[in-house]
Symmetry: C7
Subunit: 95 residues, 7 copies
Amino acid sequence: MAGIKRLVLDVLKPHYPLVLEFACALSELNGVAGVNLSLYEVDQETENVKITIEGDELNYEEIKRVINELGAVIHSIDEVVAGKRIVEEVETHQD
Amino acid sequence: MAGIKRLVLDVLKPHYPLVLEFACALSELNGVAGVNLSLYEVDQETENVKITIEGDELNYEEIKRVINELGAVIHSIDEVVAGKRIVEEVETHQD
Amino acid sequence: MAGIKRLVLDVLKPHYPLVLEFACALSELNGVAGVNLSLYEVDQETENVKITIEGDELNYEEIKRVINELGAVIHSIDEVVAGKRIVEEVETHQD
Amino acid sequence: MAGIKRLVLDVLKPHYPLVLEFACALSELNGVAGVNLSLYEVDQETENVKITIEGDELNYEEIKRVINELGAVIHSIDEVVAGKRIVEEVETHQD
Amino acid sequence: MAGIKRLVLDVLKPHYPLVLEFACALSELNGVAGVNLSLYEVDQETENVKITIEGDELNYEEIKRVINELGAVIHSIDEVVAGKRIVEEVETHQD
Amino acid sequence: MAGIKRLVLDVLKPHYPLVLEFACALSELNGVAGVNLSLYEVDQETENVKITIEGDELNYEEIKRVINELGAVIHSIDEVVAGKRIVEEVETHQD
Amino acid sequence: MAGIKRLVLDVLKPHYPLVLEFACALSELNGVAGVNLSLYEVDQETENVKITIEGDELNYEEIKRVINELGAVIHSIDEVVAGKRIVEEVETHQD
């Protein structure tokens, strides 16, 4: 099955709801095999989390809607993998 | 089986009870396959431990209750993984 | 099957269309098994992405055409692998 | 089999008995599958060793007794793993 | 089959022909299983590429001829592996 | 089979006999499966080598005797592994 | 089969003959399974290469003779592995 197989998102959220709620809501979407949320910056009112989603035919619009409905915003799409199999980024001398 | 598959918690505890008691109490909860406790900062009265819990349908409220009953508090949820399989965080150029 | 098996491209694109559209368009080309797009620099009007494409008998001209049609340009070809199997770059003392 | 599966201990010992004796004595305890002792600091009268013990249902009190009987003291329990399987500590952005 | 199994070459080339042409020409030589070309320095008129070639009974003279015919020169042979199987360089304290 | 499974020794030796003679003599001892000798410091009269020995029921006294008979001395035992299987040292935040 | 299974040599050679000739000559010796030559320093008249040889019952005297006959000299034996199986050097806190 082709389509989007991995998305890495930089997301800004308020402290509540907890990352647990994001993880559960996202893991129940169509095509999602698993979700990883990592906290990487905590401010007084907000926190930055990096969300890695893997699966088949991931639907970005639906993912974005779930994130927004929980009160958070996507800052950037840091990585996207599409196709028949997952391809990892290759380290080069230009990095 | 879906639900939460991994939790990484930053916990502040007094020196007693020992990390051993936390490990045993947490490993006996429903759905828990294994628990790792690592000491990473020791102060005069307290110590910081990083708790990594893996399993199926982990119950955060129950985990939190056990930690609190042993006299410790959760400072932050540093990582959560949910879904049908464990997805690791992917390193990106934005890290 | 011989031919080009991997291409790593340094690409400059405007913010829109999103990397998602590049990923999907490229993953549908002949011979492409998978595509990875990583964001590594964001400026006010543009962003730099590193595109890693793997497959069999990759067609560079077609790939270039798709990238250009989406409004982006290839800055450099940072790595190319060709032959019957993928050969990784070997680290040497001259690096 | 549940219970404690790994213990990492920071131990202060006199130069004699040698680490070999600690290794042999600990490896003969119930449930111990293997023991690793690494020297990491040598002072005039004493040395610090890191002891990693793996097995099933490790008995901390027995382990501590053996270490004390050989004239050494446990400074801290740096890691403990419990449950049905070994869970490794996960690296996070908060480390 | 014995003979040369891997060659790592430091090559200086003009910007054209593209690395793609080198990759394709080299991958068609006798005994070549795969070729990796990595860009590691770009100057105004020229670029430095590291070429890793793997296969059986690689013919250095033929490889050199192809590289020269495309207008490039070999600066140095940074690694060579020969024999019945590939042996990797071992890291030592003298590195 | 239990007993000592790995020994890592810091050894000071004169330039002759060569490390080759140490390797061969040690590899012929009872229980020894393999020996690794790495040079890590060379002085005018002496050199420091790190000797890693793996096997079953390694006999430290015999190993020490062989090393001494070849004119070298053991400075320290840097690691010892004992038990039914090899346990690796685990990296912790206290390292 | 016991005996020497790996040798890592620090060798000084003139620019000619090329490393290719050393690789081929060494790979044809009795017991040699594979040879890796890495260039790590180039001077005006000479170059330093690190030679890693793996196999069974490697004959150091024969290897040395071949290297000398090609006009090069062995500076040091940086690693030697002997026994029934290859044992890797273990990293310790004393490194």
